[in-house]
């Protein structure tokens, strides 16, 4: 998996507004290769886990119809500036990517 998860986490009151962008092809398995005419195998992030200071706040399962270079936004109450958000993702090939950011 190419490098690249970018996270922006900002505090609004005591709510952390987290936005993440992951670099992934999100291939559906339904498209044909223009040259060979063969189906391009599915290749997509299917699992995402986000933690705040090590505690799981979001667990997501995805199918292949999440858009290419997936965007994920969520909010966590009871956060403070400086708290650490970590997001781990894994795709259907078992390849992993992760990102982290302190809340500002």
């Amino acid at each position: 998996m190419a490098e690249g998860m970018k996270i922006r986490a900002t505090l609004q009151g005591d709510v952390a507004d987290v936005k993440a962008l992951m670099n992934h092809i999100m291939e559906t398995g339904l498209r044909k290769d223009a040259n060979t005419g063969k189906l391009i195998p599915a290749h997509f992030i299917n699992h995402v886990v986000a933690t705040l200071n090590g505690k799981t706040v979001l667990e997501a399962q995805w199918g292949a119809a999440v858009a290419k270079n997936p965007f994920l936004g969520f909010r966590v109450k009871g956060a403070k500036a400086g708290d650490k958000i970590v997001i781990n993702a894994v795709d259907n090939h078992g390849e992993k990517m992760s990102g982290e950011s302190a809340i500002v």
Binding site: A2, G4, K6, R8, L21, N23, K68, N69, F71
Partner: protein, 275 residues
């Protein structure tokens, strides 16, 4: 003056839009008036949004996607190319005034020395050449991403293309002629859609005004597909079933010159999401 303007406008509507007597400033004035009449609700600075300025639902999506665009990592690749030292230790920033910040709005310009229009991509390749590096291929992803990042350093700068002297004017007129010439099996000119039918729909596509069109290239269609301005010329011309010209051909550079001049005074923003 007023009469000349009226005549030019009349020509636009009657079909003989190549009013060669009018200079670039008059052309721009006449077109601005034309759009003001056809798109009365659109503010001048919103022309940079193209068709998005005409559709709230579409603009909401644009804003939602631009908040964290799917192409950020691609533009980051462009940044790496921009920052990577050449063999001699210099970088692209050394070739541009102000390290490349707030400069792109002055491109393309007419270089009297070479007697040709030079685009921003030409300047990037000239930088490589002067530093004994291999040039990048026009139309390539690498050059596209490099220019996407490099132009983003000029975000907010107003487009300020100049047409000075007879040779520059000739290049401008050549670009203008291209813009108004019908081509392809479907027999459309650029003007057929973006001047005559601005704001109307071709199926679900709403036609954008040409003023503002040149201020945001390259763009990422569908959020991830890099398209340069000349790449868009080629797509449009394929759509009307014409044979597109080559990237960086003199005529395309002249067309880019003409088109970008028409965006003078509008703020640059690069790159952007488009459908």
């Amino acid at each position: 003056m007023k009469r000349r303007l009226t005549v030019f406008l009349a020509c636009l509507f009657l079909g003989a839009s190549l009013a060669a007597s009018a200079g670039p400033a008059e052309d721009r004035k006449a077109l601005t008036a034309h759009y003001k009449q056809l798109l009365p609700g659109v503010k001048f600075q919103d022309y940079v949004l193209g068709a998005l300025a005409l559709n709230k639902d579409a603009l909401d999506q644009y804003e939602s996607i631009m908040m964290f665009p799917p192409f950020v990592n691609d533009v980051d690749d462009g940044r790496k190319t921009w920052e990577k030292p050449f063999k001699n230790g210099k970088t692209f920033a050394s070739c541009f005034r102000n390290g490349g910040k707030k400069v792109a709005g002055g491109y393309p310009y007419f270089d009297n020395g070479v007697g040709k229009v030079l685009t921003f991509e030409n300047a990037l390749n000239a930088c490589l050449r002067h530093n004994d590096e291999a040039e990048l291929k026009y139309g390539s992803t690498e050059l596209g991403l490099l220019s996407a990042y490099a132009k983003s350093l000029s975000d907010g700068m107003k487009v300020q293309v100049k047409v000075e002297g007879p040779a520059a004017l000739a290049a401008y007129e050549n670009g203008k002629t291209h813009y108004y010439s019908r081509r392809g099996q479907l027999n459309f000119s650029c003007a057929s859609c973006h001047i005559d039918n601005v704001g109307k729909f071709v199926r679900s596509e709403q036609l954008s005004p040409m003023i503002g069109q040149a201020a945001h290239w390259p763009e990422f269609r569908a959020g991830t597909e890099l398209v340069t301005l000349q790449g868009r010329f080629r797509q449009c011309q394929k759509n009307v079933r014409a044979t597109p010209l080559e990237f960086n051909s003199e005529e395309y550079n002249n067309l880019e010159y003409f088109l970008t001049y028409m965006s003078n005074g509008l703020p640059m923003q690069t790159p952007v999401f488009r459908k």
